[in-house]
């Protein structure tokens, strides 16, 4: 009704403006603001809304029939008429397989066809709706409508489409099963959904029905390091690989069983698919009291949806904790063959050890040394039977240093194959400064005499040898100056004599 009135007023105003252009306005009696006696003839008057309203009100009051006639003349039907055709909106899916895993990428498309002329089209609001497994109602995926404007349809086919990027997969589903997807549409007047359409043929659907499945995580490569017998405080590590096709965050639990298969403890880690690692020392799985016991283990895991209670079915063996001594180590000392501490001297080292438990065990002791200019270098390893009585382990007559260690402070370390009273497996000590003297021989020592004598003799021989090769002393010079004496015979020293003869002759010749 209000629309009609506004239409009438606009048409009326237009008529008045036309009248103003054609001729002078007809002045009504008693109208305010009029000039006395036609002084304004020939000028146009603008449409005054007050005057327009007053005229319509006058007509309503005094000439209702005229007003009705005016209404009839000016009435124009609104565009929402019987000619408006409801747009067709359908779900579109290219794939054949409707059984999909949660993380499988999907492309859900809605296609809209609007055969109305442009001026009759209305903007469409689209909502994507999903009915999850076990639910009896559709839930909107998008909180704000996806809008299809009136001018975005293809000119030839009158169609447009929307790819629903906000639902790339069903990764967030908490329950697996049948999932239904549809679109609900509104054109501002009507509301309907794609499920209202029947008898559609692929790839068009009234709703998309997917059977969504979950991929179970798979564990493999079960391993425990180090293998074999280990000490309770060795760096024992449970290792495995876990894979999940859906890439979910996984809960992996390690179950440690005792010799009777009774679970002693378990630890859970929340990890991504990939390597799994549980470090025994980090979690404090084993204590000294576990020495001599054999354990087994298995894993359980879930991806938040499905749960695997035991993998592998039969628990795996390990670790086997061996019994060992509880070492008490002290008195790490060194000695030298002289108080000069030359680098070439023989050094002795010793360490005292005993087992705090009553048994006797073979323990390996390894001696290493270093200086500020060199890294740790293993010198010697010794095995010793360590029992409750203290045992001194000796490393006698070692030669741990080189010439480059001269004038450097040295350090020494004994590493043992068991742990000591401090939980360590080695003991370090600072030695002393190695004498700066470099050459171990005196000038009159046989070694130096051999060095110098051999060198001088070889140089002497070399000088003669070069001269004999070049023949600069006599022959070549004489040949060069044209005074060759033709005494070449035998000079070349190739007469078949022994090397000693030839050297003797070489030195005798003048």
């Amino acid at each position: 009704m209000r629309g009609k009135l506004i239409s009438i007023l606009i048409v009326f105003a237009l008529l008045l403006s036309v009248q103003n252009v054609v001729g002078p306005a007809t002045q009504s009696a008693g109208s305010s603001g009029g000039s006395g006696g036609g002084g304004g003839g020939g000028g146009s008057k603008s449409v005054d809304i007050d005057r327009l309203l007053k005229a319509v009100e006058d007509a309503k009051k005094n000439k209702p029939a005229k007003l009705e006639e005016l209404k009839t003349v000016l009435w124009k039907d609104p565009i929402t008429s019987e000619e408006y055709v409801m747009p067709t909106v359908l779900m579109y899916y290219k794939g054949n397989n409707t059984t999909v895993s949660r993380n499988q990428p999907l492309e859900i498309v809605t296609v809209a066809t609007n055969n109305n002329p442009l001026e009759m089209r209305r903007m469409l609001d689209l909502y994507l709706e999903v009915k999850e497994p076990g639910s009896d109602k559709y839930e909107r995926v998008n909180s704000w409508p996806e809008k299809i404007q009136t001018n975005e349809y293809n000119e030839k086919t009158n169609t447009t489409y929307r790819i629903w990027g906000m639902l790339p997969s069903f990764a967030n589903l908490k329950k697996m099963g049948e999932v239904r997807v549809r679109a609900s549409i509104s054109d501002g007047v009507n509301r309907w959904s794609t499920t209202d359409y029947k008898d559609l043929k692929p790839p068009y659907y009234s709703e998309l029905v997917f059977n969504v499945t979950n991929n179970l995580p798979i564990m493999s490569n079960f391993n425990i390091t180090p293998s074999g017998l280990v000490r309770y405080n060795d760096p024992i590590e449970y290792k495995a690989d876990i894979a999940d096709a859906d890439g979910d965050l996984l809960n992996v639990t390690l179950h440690i069983l005792d010799e009777n298969g009774i679970e002693l403890r378990n630890e859970t880690r929340n990890i991504k698919p990939g390597p799994v690692s549980f470090k025994a020392n980090e979690y404090g799985f084993f204590k000294e009291a576990d020495a001599g016991k054999n354990f087994s283990y298995y894993y359980s895991y879930d991806d938040g949806i499905d749960f695997v209670g035991k993998d592998p079915e039969q628990p795996l063996k390990g670790p086997n904790i061996r019994k060992g001594p509880k070492l008490s180590v002290d008195k790490l000392e060194f000695s030298s063959s002289s108080e000069n501490y030359f680098w070439w001297e023989l050094y002795g080292f010793k360490v005292r050890a005993k087992n705090l438990n009553p048994e006797e065990y073979d323990v390996a002791f390894t001696l290493s040394t270093k200086t500020n200019s060199s890294e740790w270098k293993t010198i010697e390893t010794k095995m010793a039977e360590i029992g409750p009585d203290p045992v001194e382990v000796y490393f006698n007559d070692t030669k741990p240093f080189q010439v480059t260690d001269a004038n450097q402070t040295f350090y020494y370390r004994v590493k043992y194959s068991e742990y000591d009273q401090s939980g360590k497996d080695s003991m370090d000590q600072k030695g002393t400064r190695i004498n700066a003297k470099i050459v171990p021989y005196s000038i009159y020592s046989p070694v130096m005499i051999l060095n110098l004598a051999s060198m001088l003799i070889l140089i002497m021989m070399g000088g003669f040898f070069i001269e004999r090769i070049l023949k600069k002393g006599v022959e070549s010079q004489e040949r060069a100056s044209g005074r060759a004496i033709g005494a070449k015979t035998g000079v070349d020293g190739k007469s078949g004599k022994s090397i000693v003869d030839r050297i003797g002759r070489m030195l005798r010749r003048s």
Binding site: Q402, V403, T404, N407, A436, K437, I438, V439, Y441, S442, I443, V447, M448, L450, N451, L452, S454, M455, L456, L458, I459, M460, G462, G463, F464, I466, E467, R468, L470, K471, K472, G473, V474, Q477, E478, A480, S481, G482, L507, R509, S510
Partner: protein, 213 residues
């Protein structure tokens, strides 16, 4: 600078080293100059161009195989003695034989070091010997071929092998006492070097002096 400050052991040793180097360099220059002067003189006397190779051919005096061999040995030993004095221990230079750990730790390290230097010098001498005939002034193997050398001088040059052997032994002694030092031994070793070098280059200086006179 006061005289007693200037006459420190280091300064004296440095002065001796500089004197040795200068004497050797100057001898090389004089040797070349001597031969060039003779060449010019020949051109003036002959009143025509005389090739250097021809001149050298005419000038060459055969000094005898043993003398030449001894002289070559002396020259090689001179360089070995220099290496022993300056490169055996890091007293004078920042690098030395002692920095080569494997070599210095070797029982025969001294011999290997000395023979290596001698080989290097010998290779250099042999390489220079391959120069063309008109460049014979650069050949150490023919150094004494251009001078008339008396028997006494030849004996003196022969004696340098003994002097240089002593120098090498004294330098080796310095190596055995390192990081200890003996200034006296250092000076004697250097002195033996200087005397030996002086004897080896005396014929050159003598010729230069006579030509000038």
């Amino acid at each position: 600078m006061p005289i007693d400050t200037a006459l420190t052991a280091e300064n004296l040793f440095a002065a001796g080293t500089i004197a040795l180097a200068m004497a050797l360099i100057l001898a090389g220059a004089l040797h070349i100059n001597n031969l060039n002067r003779v060449h010019k003189l020949m051109v003036v006397l002959q009143k025509k161009t005389v090739s250097k190779s021809l001149l050298y051919k005419e000038l060459t005096v055969a000094q005898g195989s043993n003398f030449t061999a001894l002289a070559l040995t002396s020259w090689i030993m001179l360089f070995v003695a220099i290496a022993f004095l300056y490169l055996l221990v890091p007293t004078f230079l920042p690098f030395s034989y002692m920095d080569v750990a494997d070599l210095a730790s070797n029982t025969m390290g001294f011999a290997i070091f000395g023979i290596s230097i001698a080989l290097l010098v010998a290779i250099l001498i042999l390489f220079v010997d391959k120069l063309p005939e008109d460049l014979r002034e650069f050949k150490l193997t023919e150094l004494y071929s251009f001078y008339s050398i008396s028997k006494a001088m030849k004996k003196m040059i022969g004696i340098t092998t003994i002097l240089l052997s002593f120098s090498i032994i004294l330098s080796a002694y310095l190596g055995t006492i390192y990081p200890g030092r003996s200034l006296a031994v250092e000076f004697i070793s250097l002195l033996l070097l200087i005397v030996s070098a002086a004897l080896l280059i005396t014929p050159i200086y003598k010729e230069a002096w006579e030509v000038r006179r």
